[in-house]
């Protein structure tokens, strides 16, 4: 099989992942599209490894070794990503990325409301959690 097929496929996969990251509003879907991008890279690596070992350039198969590492890294990342998304959901009640504007540098003097709405939202979530656990 010629090298172009997997290379083109991985490029397509990468672009879909990319589109997913940019367009989707839900954090979980964004995580999934990030995984897509990483898998596209894995595909790329494996394809190049096969192509290179065929022309006996690389007897060490380092492409495949790197793929293993990348898979492990992707796993760790998705672990932490989900934990963070869960925390965001628990704090805000929604995991919608567009709502995340608290740390932005808005022009209006948001210092006053910033302080207290952080407290009152924390109070509301703790109240929810309390009745959730109860």
């Amino acid at each position: 099989m010629h090298l172009a097929y997997p290379a083109v496929l991985s490029a397509l996969l990468f672009c879909t992942g990319l589109y997913g990251v940019l367009a989707r509003r839900n954090a979980i879907l964004v995580l999934m599209s990030v995984e897509l991008m990483l898998n596209a890279v894995n595909l790329n690596l494996v394809a190049f490894d096969v192509w290179l070992s065929k022309t006996a350039q690389d007897t060490l198969h380092s492409g495949q070794a790197l793929t293993l590492f990348t898979i492990a890294i992707a796993a760790a990342e998705i672990g932490i990503g989900l934990a963070i998304v869960l925390a965001v959901y628990r704090n805000r009640g929604t995991s919608d990325i567009d709502k995340l504007r608290d740390t932005a540098e808005t022009d209006d003097g948001d210092d006053s409301d910033d302080g207290h709405d952080a407290h009152e939202s924390a109070a509301s979530t703790t109240a929810e959690k309390a009745e959730a656990t109860a």
């Binding site: 990319l18 990251v21 940019l22 990325i97 567009d98 995340l100 504007r101 608290d102 740390t103 932005a104 540098e105 808005t106 022009d107």
Partner: protein, 663 residues
Amino acid sequence: MTTTTLAVLVPLLPFLGAAAGLFLGRTAPGFVRPLAVLPSVLSLALAVLVAVRQGGDQAVDAATELTPTGSVPIELALHIDGFAALVAVLVGVVASCVQIYSTGYLRDDPRYPSYAALVSLFTSAMLLVVYSGDLMVLLVGWEIMGICSYFLVGHYWETPEARAASLKAFLVTKLGDVPFLIGLFALAADAGSFRIRTVLGTVASGGLDHPTLIALLLLAGVAGKSAQFPLHTWLPDAMAGPTPVSALIHAATMVAAGVYFIARLLPVFAASSAALLVLAVMAAVTMAGSALAALAQDDIKRVLAYSTIGQLGYMTGALAVGDRGAAVFHLLSHGAFKALLFLAAGVIIHAAGTNSLATMSRMKDLRARVPDAYWTMTVALLALAAIPPFSGFFSKEAVLGAAEHAATGHAEDIPGAAGWIVLVAGLVTALLTAAYAMRLWLLAFRGHGAEAPDHGRQPLAMNAVLWVLAVPSLAFGLTTGLLPDWFDGHDLTPTLATSVLGTGVALVGGIVTYGAWRHTTALAARVPLGAVAAHPEGDAGLVEAEAIASHAPAYGDVASAPDPADPGRLLLGPLHRHAAVGFHLDAVYAALFVRPVQAGATLVRFLDREVVDAYVRGAGALPRLLGAAVRRAQTGNVQTYVSALLAGTVVLAVAALLVATGA
């Protein structure tokens, strides 16, 4: 004591007197008067001693290096020839007289200590100019004289005229000094030294590249300092200063410094006939113009000021025809009788309480109030009008003789035309001089109307000085025989043709003026005029200040007065209005220099605020705008961040590829 140490002491003593006067002024008022008079008298004595020792033979030369400059070193040098010795004596005489006169004149003026110190400083600066053998040290003395004249003319700084006159005096002389400095640079560059001896040596050996240009540059400075046309406008206004100051600075010494400088460096000017021609024309215009203007002045001191400009014109005329003996001879005699005229005028102003001739002509028996001033003034006026046997006749004839000598082509490498110009102008001016001398005498002493106010005897100091100065005005003519061995040896005795012509013309001038006066004096009674000082019983300085201040409000003009009884008005006819304001030269300068500079100032103010500063403020605003844009880009939406990240990557990759392949 060698002549050199004596010569060094001559300028040093007044300088030390000035310094001591400034420091002790407030603390020990008792010492101030002796500290003012003694140094001048002592330096006069030493100057006489030096003159006698020098005796006209070999010039006294001594030098020590003042400072290395990187190219031409400047030396503290003395170069005393016959001219220097005698002029120094004149300066000493006049300075001592003025100091003594001032003790009486400014008896209870609180500012006397600083005044006396400045006069001593001026005297030492003038003596430095006279004795200095190095051009740069001469320039130092030259400019210190200018600043002393600025401070002294501004002595009555309450009156607006004095404030304006002092600034104008300094700026016009400074305008002359700028080309003067450049001229000195040119001389030093060609001669390789600032020493006058070396410069004269280089000129003799034809080392000057552009003698005409250098001569004209130096001439500008001289015109400024010696109040020659076109830079003479400051001298009449400088009369707003105290009379002793006018007597010392604006009659005998500072204004003579320019003439003395040309006499010292005559070979530089003689090297180019064009320069001599320019000098001759300048002298002629100065002589004639100032004599006409003198006829139209109402203020007694302004008449004398214009007369000084005229007489200086004579001296530059003599130099134009290459005879520096005659020029310095006339300088010496003029110094004496003009100082006397000014001091006498001071006494008269104090007695009459006014400086306006129109007012004086409406007072009877003024001469009885101040007999000393009357007699000495008559002597001086006769000397001024060059009536034999007074000193003025001999010195003026020497000048006219030299002019005639050059005109008839006997003087080698002096253009004949210069001789004729000076001769003709000299004769015309002789006539006009006699005219305004007679006018002044008649208006001042032959006035009739109300009785002149009587303020008692004038202080002894002032009267004594008048008689001291009357002696040279009378007897200086006798020394025509002795002087040549101090000067270059030319014969100074008056030649027959010019003497007869000159005296005749003078007599005609006097008689015509007397006739005109007889005709107009009747009108005086019908038109009452008066510009009288407020406190006539104060000391002379105070009276003079108020007289000056009262002239403009009374007559609407600081120079002339609307007096039909004035013979000058009759003689000049239509010319009177122009002559009174000095032929509108002030208006010309205002248009040529003052207004463009003020326009430039406003332009610079606009440029500085709108253009230069605008760039700086703009440079400050740019980062702020950029900062606002960057902060607005921080929207907080993470997807915009990631899209920016990816867009950045793509742009970077494409740019890198292009640069790598392209470059």
